[in-house]
Each structure stands twice: as C-alpha cells, then as structure tokens.
Amino acid sequence: MAANAPALTFLALFLPLVAAVFAPFVTRLLGDRAAFVLALAPALAFLHFCTFLPEIAAGEVVTGGYAWAPSFNLSFSWFLDGLSLTFALLITGIGTLIVVYSGGYMKGHEGQGRFLSFMLAFMGAMLGLVVSDSFLMLFVYWELTSITSFLLIGFDHEREAARRAALQALVVTGGGGLCLLAGLVFLWNITGVTQLSLLVHLGDGLRQSPFYLATLLLVLGGAFTKSAQFPFHFWLPNAMEAPTPVSAYLHSATMVKAGVYLLMRLNPVMGHTPAWEILLPFFGGITLIAGSFLAVRQTDLKLMLAYTTMASLGLLTMLTGFGSAHAVEAAVLYLVAHSLFKGALFMVAGTVDHEAGTRDLTRLGGLRAAMPVTFGVALLAALSMGGLPLFFGFLAKEEIYAALAAGNPRAVFFTGLAVIGNALMFAAAFAIALKPFLGPRVETPKHAHEGPVTLWLGPAVLSVLGLLAALFSGTAHRYVSSPMASAITDQKIVIDISTVPHLGLPLLLSLVTVLLGALAFWRLDGLRAFMARALESLGPGPDRGFDHFVSGLVRFSAAVTRLVQPGRLEIYITATFILLAVTLLVPPFAFGELPVMPAWPERILVQEAAFFLIAVVGLVAVLRARDRLTAIVSLGIQGFAVAVIFLLFGAPDLSFTQFMVETLSVVILALVMTRLRLSPRDHRPLGQKLFDGTIATACGLGFTLLLLKSTEAPFDTLLTDFFNTYSKTVAHGANVVNVIIVDFRGTDTLGEIAVVMVTGLAVLALIRVRAGRRAGSGEGQ
C-alpha cells in the first residue's frame, strides 16, 4: 500500500459528509443535474475501497486512524476486514446509484438539495459505522445513522404520518443505541479494550464473565431495534413514509443491516454460547415468519417490500445465531443478495409510483408495454429474490438449506421456518414484479410511461449484478463472500457454491419452497383476506402500544415537572435550603464526626468583641425590623461587621470584597424590592415564620459545624508554601490572592467572568420581559 493510504481512506470516509455540506449549494447552482456531480463523492469512495479487495481477499486486515485522547484509549481508527469492506462497498456502491436515482425521483422538488444533503450525510454516517474500530466511534456513527434516518423519514415534514414515523424510528433506534452504549461499556470493562480489532482474541474471557448475559442483552437491544427484529419491528413499515430512495437505501440495503452487522462483528467474541444460539435464532425466526406473513397481507408495494425486508433481517439474525460456520456462509450470501435485489425492487416500486401515481397493487396492471425496461428489471430482481437458479439469491438459498438441514430436531424446526418464510417471500417478490405489469391495463392516476434513465439505471445495475455475481460466482466468492465469512467466524473459510445445482436435500427444499411460493402467489388474494381476519382477531399490535407508551411518558413527565417545578420562588428556596441543611447536618451525626467544641479563647480583644456585638445587633435588627427596607439595611450592618472581623484576622482582600459585595447587595436588594412592589411588611403567619426560621437555624448550625470540623484538622501548608514561594519569583506579584486569581488560576477566572457577564445578560433579559409586559398592559389603560 502507498504511504498516503491512511490519509486517502480518511478522505474517503469523509467525502460523503463533505458532499452533504455542499449539496444544497450544488443543487441551487446546477438544478436537477446536481445529483450526477454529488454522486461522484460515493463513487470515488467506492473506487477507493475497491483497491483494498486483493489485500483483504488475501486474508489481511487494514487498519489506520488517528489518536484523539490516547490516555483514554480514544481514537478515530478504522479497521477493514472482509465484513467491513463488503459493507463499505455496498454502502458506497448502492449509494452512488441511489444518489443518481434520487436526482430523477426528486426532480423539480423544491427540497431536492436538502434531500440529497441528508442522504449523503447518512451515507457518511453508515460508512463510518461499518469501518469503526473504536467503540466510541462505532457508537457515535450508530447514533448518527439514527438521526439522519429521522431526518429522512420526516423529510415530508408537513404530513403528520411522516412526523410520527420519524419520531417513532428515532425513539426506537435511539433507545436501542443507548442499550448499545451500555453494552459497549460492559465490553470495555470486562475486556479492558476499546477497539473491536483487539476484542477478537478476548472472546473466552468475555464468555466466562458473570456479566456476559447482561452484555449480550444490551448489545442485542441495540442490534434488534436497528434491524427491526420482533418485537421492535413496527417502526420499519412506518418508516415507509419516507421518499422511496430512502426506503431503498436506508430501510433495506444499509441501515437496517447495521444490527446484523453488529451481530456478525461480535459473533467470534460473543457467539457459541447457549444464550446466543437460543436468543438469535428464536427472535430471528419469529421476525422471519411474522414479516413474511405480514408482507403478503399488504397491497401497497412499499409496505410489502418493507415486511419482506423485516423477514429477511429475521432470516439473517437466525442464521448468524445458528452457530455453525455453514450458517454464517449462508448469511453472508443472503445479505449480499438481499442488498442487491431488495434495493432494486424498492427503486422499481418508486419508479412505478412516480410514473403511474399509485403503488397500490389492486390499482395497477398491464404496465408492461408502457414501462418495458422497468418490468425487465423488476423481473430480474424478483427471480433473485425468489431464489431461482442462475441468480445470486439461488446460491444464498441453497446455502441456507444446506446449513440448516443438519438432521437434529432444532435444525428441522428452523428449516421449516426458513421454507415457509422463503416461500412467502417468493410470492411477495412475484406479486411485486408481475402484478403491476401483466394482465389488462388498469387506469392509473397518472398516465404511465417509461421513466427517465436516472430512474431505471440504479435498479438495472443492481439486478444485473445479482445475475453476474452468480454466473461468476468464483470471483464473487473470492473477493467478497469468503473474506466476509472468514471475518465473521474468525477462521479461514472458502465458499465455493456455484449456480450448477447439486442433487440433494437443499435442492429438494428449494423445490418445495418454489412450489409453496407459487401456490401462495396463485392464492394471494385469499391469503391476504385470511391474514387480515387473523390479525384482526389478534388485536392491536406493538405499533399502537408505542403510542400508548409515548403518551404515558408525556403524562408522566408532565406530572413530574408540575411536582418539582411549581413556579413559586418560595418553594424553590425552601427546597434548596432544606437540602443544604440535610447535607450539612446528616453526615456529621450519622458518622459520628461531630467537631470537638473549641476551648474558649483566653483573651478577646476589645475591637473583636465590639464588632461581634455589632453583627449580632444587626441580626436582631433584621428580625425585629418593621418593614423590609429596614431589614435589608440591617442585614448590611451584619455584613459590614463580618467584613471588619475578616480584616482583623488578617484577610484584607476578603474583607475588601465583602465590603463591596455588602454595599452592592443592599443597593440591589433595595432596588429589586421596590420593583417587585411587595407590601412593605412581612405578612407571613407565625407558623410559616417558625418553619422558615428553623430551616435558617439548621443551615447556620450546619455551616458552623462544618467550619469547626474543617479547622480542627491540622492545617496543610503545602499550597500556602507553594504560593508564598513562587508568587513573587514566578508571577512577579506580592499579593498572593490576586496572583492566584489572575495568574496561577487565570483560566478559572476567565470562566468566572464569562459567567458574570452571562448572568448580567440574563438578568437584563428578565427585567426587559417584565418591563415589556407592563408597558404592554399600560398602553391599554
């Protein structure tokens, strides 16, 4: 590799993000042609990652990065092996096609620049996610994909449904992200490393840790929400509110696979335990069956695809957790095949919607003459999705059956699930690829005709790739499938399945699948009606539950807010001081740390006694004052007396400041009081006065105890000596207090004066608000 490779990879990782920043300007400048220019960013990144193919195929691992906070083991570091490289290529490759497709799909839309910008930002986030080596980087990118997905689902933010779907996706995947963060912290604490590449060899220790199960559940919380596994699947169909390019890219080819990616990444470290091999196939299996049944129930093209995506994700999770290297191989093949055919079919659905004005299966038909290219593309993709020979999907399905059909009861059970799921997905695939195009021409809202090249180029490339990858399976396996499977299992794996069918059990199961699928396709309407009835009898699903959860949360937080933020100053002050008194008084009594009463001083100077008396007189005057103004001034007497006492005991700076603060507080308090237009006297009832007095006394007592206790310990002169020694020699100042303020701890002071300034601004703003309100009401009079 060339010496500048790390810099180039760094650049490639950030290219989509940079393009995202410039997308709105480019769009303003070039209009609808902007997409072609912007597509260069992912295309260049794709080419860059292609250069790693030979190296990775040879079994090497490419790492790089920059240290950020080395003392905390934090770095921006990436790590490319078969798994992350395959993902990186899918993200950038499909990303390039999607950007071009978006240009055609959003043509003339006023928000096109914003859309492309979000799309590219997501691409950057997703790319970062799959190449991340550092845990922190993985988490940050993980959350970034959730946020960009939120922006994209809610792109059409004027519609209520889109806003709800966006928020739902964010809450579900964001909540999962927090689980993942906790899981990563566990991983870090158990193993002591913060990098995925270092984690690989620490699997044994991790699996034996008592916290293994907790870690696993947290990580699964992240992966299952992201990859829409049951029971967190409901956000995915709702996310179809997003424009179709988003559905094709985020919610089928890339983002929803992040969870599967994470599981595959952690398979060598956390896999091969009973918990892993029970939880993953179980939830994956449920998701597969639920998704495939829900898919055939739909008539909306996008919703059908969404549910089959959910089913496919379930299948991938099931295979990843199955526990054999063979199953991992199947998962790898299926993942790649799925990204190709599902991305293509989504784009086809978008094109049909764009050209015909509807994507409802029952209102579409006979478009084959109007849209021949789209029909051809859809057919190619459906053949791969249905798993028919000559297509990459066929290889994947053969491998799935070969891996699952191991003979024991567990294998038989999961084989059954896979057959049912695949058969239903077969039916859905052909419903999408055939129904809109065959049969008599149905009148559509728009007069349908073939879309522009931008709209069919993307799906065409993807579906043809699905064919080529199978025909040249040797090359595909050498550069993509085998390195990826090796990375997931942490052992050298060579995949050699080709399109030539081998007689045997897998082929038989394939045949059964196709027959069942064809039957389901033939009886699709009946199946749909049956599913509708079945679902009705099941009652409301998790989607409704989510609404209840959110509204409950809002009610709960409103109640808590009303409780702790009643908006009355007295309550805040009372609460603060009660807490202060408790903090000061409870520990000395609870831990028996009461200070020893100091001995009465032998000699008290007259002036000390005099100022002490003045302070006491000031306090008595406060308590006996007839009106508030007198009380404030009397409080000043007490403050001045304390300032003099500071002076007498050798703290001139402190006393000086105390004088000035006292003066200004009296002035400002007096001013505030007149502004608040309080009644001049204190009208609190006696009981309230006693209560407030008790709190005040308790606080005073607490501080007395604290001060006595802290002067009890021998005085540590380390700092005093340091400052006395160096104040003059290093900082050229004799006044240690000031030297500390402006020199030794100057940065603190800078922060403090910034706070002073901001406080001033806040006070001004508060006064203005009141003054404005009064002026407004005054005008009416």
Partner: protein, 145 residues
C-alpha cells in the same frame, strides 16, 4: 432620591470612587486589591450617581452600554490569555515587559491587561443590572430603546 445633599456630593463621590477603583485595580498585584474589587467599587460609584441624578445621566456619562463594556472586558481578558500562545508558551502564561518611562521602570504584563478585563466585566455587568433596576423604579425617566 432627590436630596440636595446627595446631589451636591454625588459627583465628587463618584469621581473619587472611580479614581480609587483604578488605584485598587492597579495595586492589586502586590497589595490588597485587584480587578474584582476595583470593579465592584466602580459599580457602586455609578450606582450612587444613578441614584442621585437618574439613569439617563449615567448612561450619557459612560457613553457605552454597560454590557458593551463588559463584553469588551471579556474580549480583553481572552486576548490577554491568547497572547502567550503566539509566543509559543501555554495559554494564560503571564508575559512581562519593563519599559522605562521618565527614568522609572514600569512593569507591564498580560496579567495586568487580564485583570483590567476582569475589572471591566464586573463594572459592566453589575452596572447594567443596577441601572436596569433603577430605571424602572422611576417611571418619569425615559425608557431606553
């Protein structure tokens, strides 16, 4: 507060206190004093002037909005800290020069300009609070735009 005594004394008192505040600020490095205390004295001086002659007089006298003074102080303090970076030493390191003016050596430093910044922030912030509060107390005076 419209008393003859206060009105007569206030200008002298304010002038003296302002002078004293600068004195306290500058001597702060070697004897009791410094930017915080000096700023508080100056703020009190302006508050007294405001009580005697009303807020508009103070605002005219200090020319700038007190918040602008505080902002300038914060800027000055920050820049004083940044100078050291330009000289290749860490942020907030004190730098000293000793020019000789009329045969007297005058020590000047970034620490001093930092302290002046502190002084200005304190004067500005407290004065703007005090003035805003005083202003509303007296409905006869004009309201700032």
């Amino acid at each position: 507060m419209n008393t003859l005594i206060l009105r007569t004394v206030a200008p002298f008192l304010t002038a003296l206190m302002l002078l004293f505040s600068v004195f306290v600020l500058l001597r702060g490095h070697n004897e009791p004093g410094g930017g915080f205390i000096g700023g508080l004295i100056a703020a009190s001086a302006l508050a007294i002037y405001g009580i005697a002659f009303g807020v508009p007089s103070v605002r005219r006298a200090i020319r700038f909005h007190p918040m602008a003074i505080a902002g300038f102080g914060l800027l000055l303090a920050t820049l004083s800290g940044l100078v050291s970076i330009l000289s290749g030493v860490p942020f907030m390191t004190g730098l000293w020069v000793y020019p000789v003016v009329f045969e007297v050596e005058v020590p000047l430093s970034t620490v001093m300009s930092f302290d002046i910044g502190v002084y200005l922030v304190v004067v500005g912030a407290i004065t703007s609070i005090a003035l805003a509060l005083e202003q509303d107390e007296d409905p006869g005076t004009e309201r700032e735009g």
